[in-house]
């Protein structure tokens, strides 16, 4: 029997970056806020002890803080002609689990998307003509411009304390920064991270080639910092345990370091952990949400009524919750109608691995976001005309760690075990640089999410089905980028290089990227989007959906900076909604 709890002003589904920011901002105004989180409570002081946090086996190999397939998984196929099968071990992407979400274990690369990214369809059409766009694409403009998002990017960067070097302040190009970035009002809150020797080689080589390298923006902080919420952070010690790990040193921006210390002091905030929301409940006519139903750790079912429902889970799980709750019309690729599940996208990874002689890169002295990057080949910063593809990539020379179990690069042809392997590891541990291209993925009619017709979870609800593959446009783009990376690697003085092309077809086994986007996209037209420009549901106006599920297609950057900016944009929308209930945008 479902028991009904006393009503709250706001119920938040998921307590990661977006949920914790909204919970703090709303409870701070006196609203009664409850956050319901599937995973456990996690806190720096109690969970990430400096004496035990650097445990590669526990966290990187055994994936201690990630979602378990038995909690939730997906079925997957590459195209609609196949039968999807369940993912039984997370691989290609690793969703977080628990308070802080993936904001606990991320590397911390915190980008702003480029101005052209937000009006990508209009821009490409104007410059190259509509016929230039790839076949079957669903590429669409965002409902907001970079200029409109700039103050929200700034807000998130201040809360997270991001370390970086501005490239464009109010239209003035700044030397040492990214000259392609959109104009920002002011510099980053903390100076850029110190870089290693291979970044120095990359910067010199790229500069000689006429490219524009810069230190990439980092949520591993270069200096002590106290954010506008009063939360304090310490300078990064370059321990090299960022991605897959919680930071024990208060140096990586996360809900734990940047928001929760202030949030848990709010008297009208409550968190319920190890409770999974199973449904957003709607009124009989389906036009308003009445709250959520959730199952606690003992399997008891509860109804939590609320005036406002904020869906703040991981991008993929936001989409599934909307599908299970009947919010918005599910996408049908055959008729090319409906919106929920439409425009799922991912990212490409390609590049070049460079082997040097007579160098010592000290890869163990690293942080998740140290690295030099360049944007000359991102977005439409270069003429796409001769290349016949849409999109681009950020190119980076970085090492995030030199951890002993998983970091042992060897040249192609090295045996996988035995004395020859050991010798190759010994000879190359200090001498390998990776030049990587993280590329955009456009949205297509046949890349989408829906409910699986066969497979169900432990509660009897259908799993979500992912239908995705890299299309010819992305393959062409990523492989062209790999060649650019290789040019730079050679110019850095590498003795040998190995080009890493895009692996096709996409498969779920090797880790690639946890930058899953789309499925509940924001837009200007309810026929092609789930959310309006304030991330408010077109169909159920007291439901807002945060996160990268709102991206109409993916860009060549890590998503968190844009997710943070959208959260503050959404917050403004929520404040407006509280003043005058109803849709904030008339379709």
């Amino acid at each position: 029997m479902v028991r009904r709890l006393p009503r709250k002003d706001v119920v938040i589904v998921g307590l990661g970056w977006t949920g914790s920011i909204l919970a703090y901002e709303l409870s701070h105004t006196g609203l009664d806020v409850v956050a319901i989180e599937r995973g456990p409570w996690r806190d720096t002081a109690t969970d990430f002890n400096i004496g035990t946090a650097a445990d590669e086996l526990r966290y990187a190999v055994r994936q201690d803080i990630f979602l378990r397939p038995k909690q939730e998984t997906l079925t997957m196929r590459n195209n609609p002609s196949q039968t999807a099968l369940p993912i039984r071990k997370w691989g290609s992407f690793l969703p977080g689990n628990g308070v802080g979400g993936a904001g606990v274990h991320w590397n911390g690369q915190t980008w702003r998307f480029l101005p052209d990214d937000f009006r990508i369809r209009s821009h490409y059409t104007e410059r190259y003509g509509e016929a230039f766009l790839p076949e079957g694409n669903h590429i669409q403009d965002w409902p907001v411009s970079f200029e409109e998002l700039e103050p929200y990017y700034d807000k998130f960067e201040r809360v997270a304390g991001i370390s970086g070097k501005a490239g464009n302040i109010k239209g003035q190009i700044q030397s040492g920064g990214n000259p392609f970035e959109g104009a920002r009002e002011r510099d980053y809150p903390t100076p850029p991270m110190k870089q290693g020797y291979q970044q120095e080689l990359f910067t010199q080589a790229a500069t000689k080639m006429g490219l524009h390298p810069f230190p990439r923006p980092s949520a591993n902080l270069s200096a002590a910092y106290t954010n506008p919420y009063g939360c304090s952070m310490a300078p990064c010690t370059f321990c090299g345990f960022c991605e897959w790990f919680g930071c024990a040193n208060y140096s990586k921006s996360s809900p734990q370091t940047c928001v929760l210390p202030a949030l848990i002091r709010e008297p009208t905030f409550e968190a319920r952990t190890e409770c999974e929301v199973t449904k957003v409940n709607l009124t009989v006519d389906g036009k308003m949400a009445t709250g959520v139903t959730y199952v606690d750790a003992n399997g008891e079912e509860w109804e939590q009524p609320a005036d406002l429902v904020l869906v703040c889970a991981y991008a993929l799980f936001n989409v599934r919750l909307l599908l299970l709750s009947g919010i918005g019309k599910p996408y049908d690729p055959v008729k090319d109608e409906g919106v929920v599940g439409r425009n799922y996208a991912y990212q490409t990874g390609s590049g070049s691995q460079a082997f040097f002689e007579n160098v010592q890169f000290n890869p163990f002295a690293a942080a998740g976001s140290t690295g030099a990057a360049l944007d000359d080949y991102n977005s439409d910063n270069f003429d796409h005309g001769p290349h016949g593809f849409v999109g681009g990539a950020s190119i980076t020379c970085a090492h995030t760690n030199g951890r002993p179990i998983l970091f042992h690069p060897t040249p192609a042809g090295t045996p996988a075990w035995g004395s020859a392997w050991k010798k190759a590891v010994h000879d190359n541990y200090q001498r390998v640089a990776n030049i990587g291209a993280q590329g955009s993925v456009m949205s297509y009619r046949n890349n989408y999410l829906d409910l699986d017709p066969t497979y169900k979870d432990a509660l009897g609800r259908p799993l979500m089905r992912m239908t995705f593959d890299y299309q010819p446009n992305e393959q062409k783009m990523a492989n062209w980028m790999a060649a650019r990376c290789d040019e730079i690697a050679k110019a850095m003085g590498a003795k040998t290089t190995q080009v890493n092309p895009l692996r096709v077809p996409w498969n779920v086994v090797p880790y690639q990227s946890t930058h899953n986007t789309g499925g509940a996209v924001m837009g200007s037209d309810p026929k092609t989007s789930v959310l309006n420009r304030y991330l408010q549901s077109w169909d159920v106006p007291n439901v807002f959906v945060m996160g990268a599920s709102a991206f109409p297609q993916n860009a060549g950057y890590n998503p968190t900076g844009t997710v943070g900016a959208l959260t503050y944009l959404g917050l403004d929308g929520i404040f407006n909604y509280l003043k005058s209930s109803g849709p904030l945008v008339q379709p």
Binding site: A45, G230, S232, T237, D307
Partner: protein, 408 residues
Amino acid sequence: MRLRHLLVLLPLLAIGRAAADPDNYVSIERGKTLATAGDCIACHTASGGQPFAGGLALQTPFGAIMTPNITPDNLTGIGRWSKDDFARAMHEGRRPGGSYLYPAFPYPYYAKVSRSDLDAIYAYLQTLPPVENRVNRNMLPFPFNIRLSMAGWNGLFFTPGEFKPDPKRSDEFNRGAYLVEGLGHCGACHTPFNSFGASQNGKYLQGNQIDNWTAPNITNDMQAGLGKWTVADIVQYLKTGQTRFSLASGPMKDVIENSTSKMADADLKAIAVYLKERGAAGPPAPSPLASSDARMQMGEAVFVDTCSACHMRSGDGVEHLFPKLAGNVVATQDDPASLIRIIIAGGRAASTDTTPTAPSMPSLGWRLGDEQIAAVVTYVRNSWGNAASPVSAETVKAERARVTGAGD
């Protein structure tokens, strides 16, 4: 949208039973402020228990004493006490029937609180929701379980009488003295005990050890006390739990979170002025150990490996997070208990509205041996301008046993 009108609702809820008497409102609010200054909640709340409902076991050298329920429950609390009963307990350490309270309840300090302030605290306590919580109040072993013996103790160590301001001092100094010597009962932790558990008035505020924590010297002493702290530093410390010199942990963290961070700035300043102006006392400063000393060299090696990433090679720490060790008075107390304890068992700083991040020091006792801890504590006590006596592995071993319960 149904907005909670918190500002309107909360005071009404807080007033509870006494709300029937609107004239009492000012007195109740004053009582609440005073009860906060006295940090009554800290001792009168069990871990995980209802506020003020008692049941916390105070560890004394004579045995554990369970704190009583001071909610206005008629059967198990102080619901039937009159305000005279309450004043007698606070001023004389006697219960309504006349039996004696133990001085773990620091009535020798509360004796100095004015009757009107006690009446206000009484009025506030009577507004709390009554909680039925029966506490076993008689757990001390013989002969300490004979409460009448406290009559003799009082004769020896208790001076009754309310606080008398010193006309030669400023009002601010006298306000600070009233708070520190009375309700704040700072000396209950910061003044050494004699063997009868009474504060040694000749060593008032010169530091003490409580539950394996050092309650530092808080006289104006340059070596171990507040000599290098300004009035503003002390106010900031009491308000936020941190200054450029220090980050509160242990029992002081609770004092700051429950009590001083909620006190009026003027009262905090009065406390600071009193502590700065009343004088300095403490043992003479020793000379630092030579850096060539074998203990210092071993300590430095441990420090560089284990401590320097956060506390920095220079001992400067990181503001708001990792305490500065250079010039830190916890490091330069004659008693090294806090340093040893924090390394063995870890600790956590205070969280306040202005400084919400409550950073933790991890426990390192599992990976550092007694000799290594002794060396690194000795190193911290004698580096960057610090000077304090060296610490032996035996001292660490004994404290480890007390802190972790580990036998030989």
